[in-house]
Protein backbone atom coordinates (compact mmCIF):
# COMPACT_ATOMS: atom_id res chain seq x y z
CA UNK A 1 0.00 0.00 0.00
CA UNK A 2 1.39 3.39 -0.93
CA UNK A 3 1.42 5.85 1.95
CA UNK A 4 1.03 8.70 -0.51
CA UNK A 5 -2.60 7.69 -1.34
CA UNK A 6 -5.33 9.73 0.35
CA UNK A 7 -7.52 7.64 2.67
CA UNK A 8 -10.71 6.59 0.92
CA UNK A 9 -14.14 6.38 2.57
CA UNK A 10 -13.75 2.64 2.87
CA UNK A 11 -10.37 2.99 4.58
CA UNK A 12 -11.67 5.54 7.11
CA UNK A 13 -14.68 3.35 7.95
CA UNK A 14 -12.37 0.37 8.16
CA UNK A 15 -10.00 2.04 10.63
CA UNK A 16 -12.98 3.15 12.72
CA UNK A 17 -14.44 -0.36 12.82
CA UNK A 18 -11.06 -1.92 13.64
CA UNK A 19 -10.63 0.48 16.59
CA UNK A 20 -14.18 -0.07 17.83
CA UNK A 21 -13.83 -3.83 17.34
CA UNK A 22 -10.61 -4.11 19.34
CA UNK A 23 -11.89 -1.92 22.17
CA UNK A 24 -15.25 -3.66 22.32
CA UNK A 25 -13.69 -7.14 22.31
CA UNK A 26 -11.30 -6.27 25.13
CA UNK A 27 -14.07 -4.52 27.08
CA UNK A 28 -16.44 -7.49 26.66
CA UNK A 29 -13.76 -9.94 27.75
CA UNK A 30 -12.48 -8.04 30.76
CA UNK A 31 -15.54 -6.22 32.06
CA UNK A 32 -18.74 -7.72 30.63
CA UNK A 33 -17.51 -11.36 30.46
CA UNK A 34 -19.99 -11.83 27.61
CA UNK A 35 -19.25 -14.11 24.64
CA UNK A 36 -21.91 -12.65 22.28
CA UNK A 37 -20.51 -9.15 22.79
CA UNK A 38 -16.99 -10.42 22.25
CA UNK A 39 -18.21 -12.00 19.02
CA UNK A 40 -19.71 -8.64 18.06
CA UNK A 41 -16.34 -6.99 18.65
CA UNK A 42 -14.64 -9.62 16.46
CA UNK A 43 -17.30 -9.04 13.81
CA UNK A 44 -16.47 -5.31 13.79
CA UNK A 45 -12.79 -6.19 13.49
CA UNK A 46 -13.43 -8.46 10.49
CA UNK A 47 -15.60 -5.87 8.76
CA UNK A 48 -13.08 -3.13 9.54
CA UNK A 49 -10.16 -5.06 8.03
CA UNK A 50 -12.25 -5.94 4.98
CA UNK A 51 -13.24 -2.31 4.45
CA UNK A 52 -9.69 -1.08 4.89
CA UNK A 53 -8.38 -3.52 2.29
CA UNK A 54 -11.01 -2.76 -0.35
CA UNK A 55 -9.93 -0.21 -2.99
CA UNK A 56 -12.24 2.82 -3.36
CA UNK A 57 -12.82 2.73 -7.07
CA UNK A 58 -12.51 -0.12 -9.41
CA UNK A 59 -12.41 0.60 -13.11
CA UNK A 60 -14.26 -2.16 -14.97
CA UNK A 61 -11.97 -4.57 -16.83
CA UNK A 62 -13.72 -3.96 -20.14
CA UNK A 63 -13.19 -0.20 -19.82
CA UNK A 64 -9.47 -0.69 -19.25
CA UNK A 65 -9.19 -3.08 -22.16
CA UNK A 66 -11.10 -0.68 -24.44
CA UNK A 67 -8.77 2.17 -23.47
CA UNK A 68 -5.62 0.13 -24.13
CA UNK A 69 -6.86 -1.06 -27.52
CA UNK A 70 -7.97 2.45 -28.44
CA UNK A 71 -4.44 3.69 -27.73
CA UNK A 72 -3.04 0.97 -30.00
CA UNK A 73 -5.43 1.88 -32.84
CA UNK A 74 -3.95 5.37 -33.13
CA UNK A 75 -0.39 4.06 -33.31
CA UNK A 76 -1.45 1.36 -35.79
CA UNK A 77 -3.09 4.01 -37.96
CA UNK A 78 0.07 6.15 -37.93
CA UNK A 79 2.29 3.20 -38.82
CA UNK A 80 -0.05 2.26 -41.64
CA UNK A 81 -0.32 5.83 -42.95
CA UNK A 82 3.44 6.16 -43.22
CA UNK A 83 3.83 2.56 -44.43
CA UNK A 84 6.33 1.81 -41.69
CA UNK A 85 8.07 -1.56 -41.98
CA UNK A 86 11.29 -1.25 -39.98
CA UNK A 87 11.59 -2.33 -36.34
CA UNK A 88 11.31 0.32 -33.64
CA UNK A 89 14.18 1.63 -31.60
CA UNK A 90 13.24 2.50 -28.02
CA UNK A 91 15.04 5.62 -26.83
CA UNK A 92 15.72 6.68 -23.24
CA UNK A 93 13.55 9.55 -21.95
CA UNK A 94 14.64 13.12 -22.61
CA UNK A 95 11.95 15.26 -20.95
CA UNK A 96 8.87 13.06 -21.00
CA UNK A 97 8.76 9.31 -21.16
CA UNK A 98 10.51 6.71 -23.28
CA UNK A 99 9.80 7.19 -26.97
CA UNK A 100 10.26 5.13 -30.11
CA UNK A 101 11.96 5.90 -33.36
CA UNK A 102 10.61 3.98 -36.34
CA UNK A 103 12.76 4.44 -39.46
CA UNK A 104 10.64 4.91 -42.58
CA UNK A 105 13.47 3.77 -44.83
CA UNK A 106 15.54 0.62 -44.70
CA UNK A 107 18.73 1.80 -42.97
CA UNK A 108 21.32 -0.18 -41.00
CA UNK A 109 21.00 0.91 -37.38
CA UNK A 110 24.75 1.40 -36.92
CA UNK A 111 24.63 4.20 -39.54
CA UNK A 112 22.24 6.30 -37.48
CA UNK A 113 22.98 5.15 -33.94
CA UNK A 114 25.15 8.19 -33.13
CA UNK A 115 22.33 10.60 -34.03
CA UNK A 116 19.50 8.67 -32.38
CA UNK A 117 19.29 10.57 -29.11
CA UNK A 118 19.63 13.91 -30.92
CA UNK A 119 16.56 13.30 -33.07
CA UNK A 120 14.18 16.28 -32.92
CA UNK A 121 10.95 15.33 -31.15
CA UNK A 122 8.56 15.79 -34.04
CA UNK A 123 6.15 13.28 -35.54
CA UNK A 124 8.39 12.84 -38.59
CA UNK A 125 12.07 13.49 -37.96
CA UNK A 126 15.24 13.17 -39.99
CA UNK A 127 17.86 11.10 -38.22
CA UNK A 128 21.16 10.80 -40.05
CA UNK A 129 19.36 11.52 -43.31
CA UNK A 130 16.72 8.86 -42.64
CA UNK A 131 13.08 9.89 -42.29
CA UNK A 132 11.71 8.41 -39.10
CA UNK A 133 8.52 8.42 -37.06
CA UNK A 134 8.72 9.42 -33.42
CA UNK A 135 5.97 7.87 -31.33
CA UNK A 136 5.28 7.36 -27.66
CA UNK A 137 4.51 3.67 -27.19
CA UNK A 138 1.90 2.32 -24.82
CA UNK A 139 4.41 1.32 -22.15
CA UNK A 140 5.93 4.77 -21.90
CA UNK A 141 3.42 6.09 -19.36
CA UNK A 142 3.33 2.78 -17.51
CA UNK A 143 7.08 2.94 -16.89
CA UNK A 144 6.89 6.61 -15.88
CA UNK A 145 4.02 6.06 -13.44
CA UNK A 146 5.61 3.04 -11.78
CA UNK A 147 8.27 5.41 -10.32
CA UNK A 148 11.26 3.14 -10.78
CA UNK A 149 14.23 4.12 -8.62
CA UNK A 150 17.57 5.07 -10.13
CA UNK A 151 19.50 2.05 -8.86
CA UNK A 152 16.97 -0.67 -9.72
CA UNK A 153 18.23 -3.65 -11.74
CA UNK A 154 16.70 -4.53 -15.12
CA UNK A 155 15.24 -7.75 -13.73
CA UNK A 156 13.58 -5.98 -10.80
CA UNK A 157 12.33 -3.18 -13.05
CA UNK A 158 10.69 -5.65 -15.47
CA UNK A 159 8.98 -7.43 -12.59
CA UNK A 160 7.89 -4.19 -10.96
CA UNK A 161 6.39 -2.70 -14.13
CA UNK A 162 4.99 -5.71 -16.00
CA UNK A 163 4.02 -8.04 -13.15
CA UNK A 164 3.24 -5.88 -10.13
CA UNK A 165 2.25 -2.44 -11.47
CA UNK A 166 0.57 -3.07 -14.83
CA UNK A 167 -0.21 -6.79 -14.20
CA UNK A 168 0.18 -7.53 -17.93
CA UNK A 169 1.96 -10.85 -17.35
CA UNK A 170 2.26 -13.34 -14.51
CA UNK A 171 6.00 -13.91 -14.55
CA UNK A 172 9.14 -12.71 -16.30
CA UNK A 173 12.57 -14.14 -16.94
CA UNK A 174 15.35 -11.91 -18.24
CA UNK A 175 18.71 -12.91 -19.72
CA UNK A 176 21.39 -10.66 -21.17
CA UNK A 177 23.99 -12.04 -23.53
CA UNK A 178 26.37 -9.31 -24.64
CA UNK A 179 24.16 -6.66 -26.21
CA UNK A 180 21.22 -8.99 -26.75
CA UNK A 181 18.43 -8.73 -24.19
CA UNK A 182 16.11 -11.71 -24.00
CA UNK A 183 12.89 -11.53 -22.03
CA UNK A 184 10.50 -14.43 -21.52
CA UNK A 185 7.02 -13.51 -20.32
CA UNK A 186 4.51 -16.08 -19.12
CA UNK A 187 0.78 -15.73 -18.52
CA UNK A 188 0.24 -12.71 -20.75
CA UNK A 189 -3.17 -11.19 -19.90
CA UNK A 190 -3.43 -8.77 -22.78
CA UNK A 191 -3.78 -9.38 -26.50
CA UNK A 192 -2.40 -7.18 -29.26
CA UNK A 193 -4.50 -7.65 -32.35
CA UNK A 194 -2.85 -4.96 -34.48
CA UNK A 195 -0.40 -6.61 -36.90
CA UNK A 196 1.78 -3.62 -37.75
CA UNK A 197 2.07 -2.60 -34.09
CA UNK A 198 3.14 -6.15 -33.21
CA UNK A 199 5.64 -6.34 -36.04
CA UNK A 200 7.30 -2.97 -35.46
CA UNK A 201 7.04 -2.37 -31.70
CA UNK A 202 6.21 -5.86 -30.48
CA UNK A 203 3.09 -6.94 -28.62
CA UNK A 204 1.95 -4.74 -25.73
CA UNK A 205 3.95 -6.57 -23.00
CA UNK A 206 7.00 -6.68 -25.30
CA UNK A 207 6.65 -2.97 -25.98
CA UNK A 208 6.52 -2.24 -22.26
CA UNK A 209 9.65 -4.37 -21.78
CA UNK A 210 11.36 -2.28 -24.47
CA UNK A 211 10.42 0.89 -22.59
CA UNK A 212 11.83 -0.56 -19.36
CA UNK A 213 15.12 -1.43 -21.07
CA UNK A 214 15.49 2.07 -22.52
CA UNK A 215 14.63 3.67 -19.17
CA UNK A 216 16.95 1.56 -17.02
CA UNK A 217 19.90 1.05 -19.38
CA UNK A 218 19.72 4.71 -20.51
CA UNK A 219 20.66 3.76 -24.05
CA UNK A 220 18.76 3.08 -27.29
CA UNK A 221 17.33 -0.44 -27.47
CA UNK A 222 16.36 -1.92 -30.79
CA UNK A 223 13.49 -4.41 -31.06
CA UNK A 224 14.65 -7.54 -32.89
CA UNK A 225 11.74 -9.99 -32.84
CA UNK A 226 9.34 -11.92 -30.65
CA UNK A 227 7.93 -15.45 -30.59
CA UNK A 228 4.61 -16.08 -28.94
CA UNK A 229 2.72 -19.26 -28.25
CA UNK A 230 -0.51 -19.03 -26.33
CA UNK A 231 0.13 -16.83 -23.32
CA UNK A 232 3.91 -17.12 -23.49
CA UNK A 233 6.01 -14.48 -25.25
CA UNK A 234 9.76 -14.49 -25.83
CA UNK A 235 11.13 -11.19 -27.10
CA UNK A 236 14.61 -10.12 -28.16
CA UNK A 237 16.09 -6.64 -28.07
CA UNK A 238 19.53 -5.26 -28.75
CA UNK A 239 21.10 -2.56 -26.62
CA UNK A 240 22.86 -0.09 -28.92
CA UNK A 241 26.12 1.51 -27.87
CA UNK A 242 26.71 5.13 -28.66
CA UNK A 243 30.33 6.24 -29.18
Amino acid sequence: MKSSENLSGYAVLGILLITVGILFTVFSYLILHSTPFMALGILCLILGLTNALVPETLIPTNTVRAMIEAACINVEALLEEYNAEEKAIYLPPSNDGVYCLVPLQKTPVNEIVEQLTDAPLKLVSKVGGTRSLIIYPLGSEGVRLSHLTEDVSVDDALNEVLVRFLEYVESIKFVQSGNVLLVEMKGSKIETRFPRYRKILGSIPTSVAGCVFAQILKKPVSFIDEQSSGKEVVARFEALSIG
Binding site: M1, P36, L40, I42, L47
Partner: protein, 79 residues
Protein backbone atom coordinates in the same frame (compact mmCIF):
# COMPACT_ATOMS: atom_id res chain seq x y z
CA UNK B 1 -24.70 -1.89 -7.73
CA UNK B 2 -20.95 -1.65 -7.23
CA UNK B 3 -19.59 -5.16 -6.69
CA UNK B 4 -17.27 -4.08 -3.88
CA UNK B 5 -20.16 -2.46 -1.97
CA UNK B 6 -22.31 -5.55 -2.51
CA UNK B 7 -19.51 -7.74 -1.17
CA UNK B 8 -19.10 -5.70 2.02
CA UNK B 9 -22.85 -5.49 2.60
CA UNK B 10 -23.32 -9.23 2.06
CA UNK B 11 -20.47 -9.95 4.44
CA UNK B 12 -21.90 -7.63 7.09
CA UNK B 13 -25.38 -9.13 6.80
CA UNK B 14 -24.16 -12.74 6.83
CA UNK B 15 -21.88 -12.34 9.82
CA UNK B 16 -24.45 -10.25 11.73
CA UNK B 17 -27.16 -12.86 11.16
CA UNK B 18 -24.74 -15.56 12.29
CA UNK B 19 -24.02 -13.65 15.51
CA UNK B 20 -27.73 -13.01 16.08
CA UNK B 21 -28.73 -16.65 15.56
CA UNK B 22 -25.99 -17.94 17.85
CA UNK B 23 -26.89 -15.37 20.50
CA UNK B 24 -30.57 -16.38 20.31
CA UNK B 25 -29.66 -20.00 20.99
CA UNK B 26 -27.50 -18.81 23.91
CA UNK B 27 -24.24 -20.12 22.47
CA UNK B 28 -21.43 -19.30 24.90
CA UNK B 29 -18.43 -20.83 23.12
CA UNK B 30 -16.41 -18.17 21.29
CA UNK B 31 -14.82 -20.78 19.02
CA UNK B 32 -18.25 -21.55 17.48
CA UNK B 33 -18.68 -17.86 16.57
CA UNK B 34 -15.17 -17.61 15.13
CA UNK B 35 -15.53 -20.85 13.15
CA UNK B 36 -18.80 -19.71 11.58
CA UNK B 37 -17.34 -16.27 10.88
CA UNK B 38 -14.49 -17.98 9.03
CA UNK B 39 -16.87 -20.15 6.99
CA UNK B 40 -19.11 -17.20 6.18
CA UNK B 41 -16.17 -14.95 5.26
CA UNK B 42 -14.58 -17.47 2.90
CA UNK B 43 -17.92 -18.36 1.31
CA UNK B 44 -18.80 -14.72 0.59
CA UNK B 45 -15.26 -13.92 -0.59
CA UNK B 46 -15.31 -16.92 -2.92
CA UNK B 47 -18.67 -15.80 -4.38
CA UNK B 48 -17.67 -12.20 -5.00
CA UNK B 49 -13.85 -12.49 -5.48
CA UNK B 50 -13.30 -8.83 -4.57
CA UNK B 51 -10.21 -6.87 -5.48
CA UNK B 52 -7.96 -6.04 -2.50
CA UNK B 53 -5.25 -3.40 -2.00
CA UNK B 54 -2.92 -5.78 -0.19
CA UNK B 55 -2.73 -9.39 1.08
CA UNK B 56 -5.92 -10.80 2.64
CA UNK B 57 -5.09 -10.22 6.30
CA UNK B 58 -8.65 -11.01 7.41
CA UNK B 59 -8.61 -14.34 5.61
CA UNK B 60 -5.21 -15.25 7.00
CA UNK B 61 -6.30 -14.36 10.55
CA UNK B 62 -9.54 -16.31 10.28
CA UNK B 63 -7.79 -19.31 8.73
CA UNK B 64 -5.20 -19.44 11.50
CA UNK B 65 -7.94 -19.09 14.15
CA UNK B 66 -9.98 -21.83 12.50
CA UNK B 67 -6.96 -24.17 12.37
CA UNK B 68 -6.21 -23.42 16.02
CA UNK B 69 -9.80 -24.20 17.06
CA UNK B 70 -9.83 -27.45 15.07
CA UNK B 71 -6.48 -28.46 16.55
CA UNK B 72 -7.78 -27.87 20.10
CA UNK B 73 -10.91 -29.94 19.39
CA UNK B 74 -8.81 -32.78 17.95
CA UNK B 75 -6.52 -32.74 20.95
CA UNK B 76 -9.58 -32.92 23.21
CA UNK B 77 -10.80 -35.98 21.31
CA UNK B 78 -7.41 -37.69 21.20
CA UNK B 79 -6.46 -36.95 24.79
Amino acid sequence: MDRQKLYIESLAITLSLTTLCLTLISEQRLEVYVSLFAVGYFAITFLFRPRKRWIDLTGIGLFISFCYIVALQLLDIIL
